[in-house]
């Protein structure tokens, strides 16, 4: 049996709920996973309680104030037991996974969506194919969110261990993102507009629905390339962000292959497009052949009454 260690997924210095999914992924290897929480203050590790861990280590260091790849990898390496390491698959966690693996001379498998014994499956070619690899001995595995049902129970009290890291960068300044909205890569629901929206001003209709259901607003590459008012940060697709929400609503998006690459793994897909032959409909669970002007007001009213 392989000893497994979960590196807790952190968000704003708190343990993110997806950490419980990582524990569930680790449990597929058998045994009781240890969860290591990178924290500045040991109180931040409280969030790892009841996530199914066999034990919890609060790895406490000033090095964890801001993400610094070298600093985090060195500070964690000093306190993380040997074995197979499981991390989240956010951009930061994948970066950390790669550094930790290299530091220990291990190989890394990124974006796991299934684990079966020593066989690990990940999407490749932007989700156009799936690849299963076999690992020999310990490895570092980053696991996508919304794949494993969260574990529960287990350890509550962390053991606090002080550590130090070799931080090599310094933050000069933080620059607020142009938009206060949810990031498409982090949202459970994403509503995206394409060039079919007609003009960037019409994205207010998407924003209104987003506000009702707590969604992030995304855009196709065509929309981002056509309109300066639509920033690249909103772009979903191969050269934008890859999203994996529970619900993806595509409005006025035809479904170019590079857009599909960024959103096809969404759990449910709704497509609204006036062209019945748009490729997006082949990937939609629910398709509505209509203009956005017809469909969005109806959708918004229905959602508003549901959300009370």
């Amino acid at each position: 049996m392989t000893q497994t260690i979960v590196i807790a997924e952190m968000s704003n210095n708190a343990v993110h709920s997806s950490t419980a999914e990582l524990v569930a992924a680790a449990k597929t290897f058998g045994g009781e996973p240890t969860v290591v929480v990178p924290c500045v203050d040991a109180n931040q590790a409280a969030g790892a309680a009841n996530m199914g861990a066999g034990s919890i280590i609060a790895a406490k260091s000033g090095a964890f104030t801001h993400y610094d790849a070298k600093g985090w990898a060195s500070a964690l390496d000093a306190v993380v037991p040997q074995g197979t390491l499981i991390t989240g698959a956010s951009p930061q966690s994948k970066d950390l996974a790669a550094r930790l693996a290299a530091r220990r001379g291990l190989s890394v498998v990124q974006d796991a969506v299934a684990i079966d014994g020593n066989n690990i499956t990940s999407p490749v070619y932007s989700g156009k194919a799936m690849q299963t690899v076999s690992i020999t001995g310990p490895a570092v595995i980053s696991v996508r969110s919304n794949v494993f049902a969260p574990a529960s129970g287990g350890a509550g009290e962390p053991t606090i261990v002080d550590t130090t890291g070799d931080v090599a960068t310094s933050v000069q300044e933080f620059m607020a993102r142009a938009s206060e909205r949810l990031d498409v890569a982090e949202a459970n629901i994403v509503i995206s507009g394409g060039r079919g929206m007609g003009s960037p001003e019409n994205f207010v209709h998407l924003e209104a629905i987003a506000d009702t259901i707590g969604a992030a607003v995304g855009a196709s590459r065509a929309a981002v390339d056509t309109w300066e008012a639509i920033p690249h940060a909103m772009q979903v697709g191969q050269t934008g962000k890859t999203v994996n929400p529970n619900l993806y609503i595509a409005v006025g998006i035809s479904g170019a292959i590079q857009h599909l690459a960024g959103m096809r793994s969404s759990k449910y897909i709704v497509a609204i497009n006036k062209d019945a032959d748009a490729p997006i409909f082949q990937h939609a669970d629910y398709g509505i052949v209509a203009t956005w002007e017809e469909a969005l007001p109806v959708l918004h009213d229905s959602l508003k009454s549901m959300m009370g």
Binding site: K70, K94, D111, Y125, V133, S134, A139, A295
Partner: protein, 245 residues
């Protein structure tokens, strides 16, 4: 003046349809191109050279077929093109070990690469290479400035952070708010004549092997409705059937 290295990888054209034959992806009829994020790495490397001097070397690992993307980089303006000869599949540990030796041989002081390659999407190479070299790394960089020290802009907790760092470092590049330069006719002519510096480095054994590749499971056919009024029913289904609201 910095010795600048940019890593480039040959991948299938991102608009290509991926087909599977047997238990492997079949790329035999797919056009191969430089991985899209590598184009931002090449552009940032060229900007670094313009600001600080030095020379830019484009480096890849692969067979002779990969010379094409090195020539593409040469046409854009890099000074040297180097390929480490390799034909076998490599896991991240093997590839990074080879790259670390190549960067050391070439005397690199800063390495640029794409944030991930369009085939694996893993994004392991930049940070893993940096760790092996004992260097700093910053990933998903969307901009870099070279005046009065070296600083990069990267996403951080929903915002952007401008970070200063010192060399040596590995910088993995995301799409930034800038255009990438295209080759001109002179560059293309020079690239045609340019010789690839082919090197051989011993490849360590891999502990990860590919078992199979397959197409993603097809989704069951969805429900399609005509007319905007159907949005009300879809909203109900999202709540009652899909349970996502």
């Amino acid at each position: 003046m910095p010795n600048i290295i940019v890593l480039v990888k040959q991948v299938p054209d991102t608009n290509a349809k991926i087909v599977v034959s047997g238990d492997r992806v079949d790329l035999s009829s797919v056009k191969m191109v430089m991985s899209p994020y590598d184009e931002f790495a090449v552009e940032t490397a060229m900007k670094h050279k313009e600001a600080a001097g030095g020379e830019v070397t484009a480096l890849t690992v692969g067979g002779a077929g990969a010379d094409k993307i090195l020539k593409d980089a040469k046409a854009i303006g890099v000074d040297h093109i180097v390929r480490v000869e390799a034909s076998q599949e490599m896991d991240s540990n093997a590839l990074q070990t080879v790259l670390a030796q190549a960067v050391t041989e070439l005397g690199g002081e800063v390495v640029y690469c794409g944030k991930s390659a369009a085939d694996t999407g893993a994004g392991s190479t930049g940070p893993g290479l940096a760790e092996r070299l004992g260097w700093t790394s910053v990933s998903n960089v969307i901009g870099a400035t070279f005046d009065g020290g070296f600083s990069v802009v990267t996403p951080s907790g929903g915002d952007h952070a401008k970070m200063s760092l010192s060399l040596p470092a590995v910088i993995s590049c995301d799409k930034g708010d800038f255009k990438v330069r295209k080759p001109n006719v002179k560059g293309i002519m020079q690239a045609k004549r340019a010789a690839v510096d082919v090197r051989s480095i011993e490849v360590p054994a891999s502990s990860i092997t590919v078992v199979n590749q397959s197409l993603p499971p097809a989704k069951p056919a969805g429900k399609t409705y005509e007319g905007g009024a159907a949005a009300a029913e879809v909203a109900n289904l999202l709540r009652d059937e899909a349970n996502v609201l």
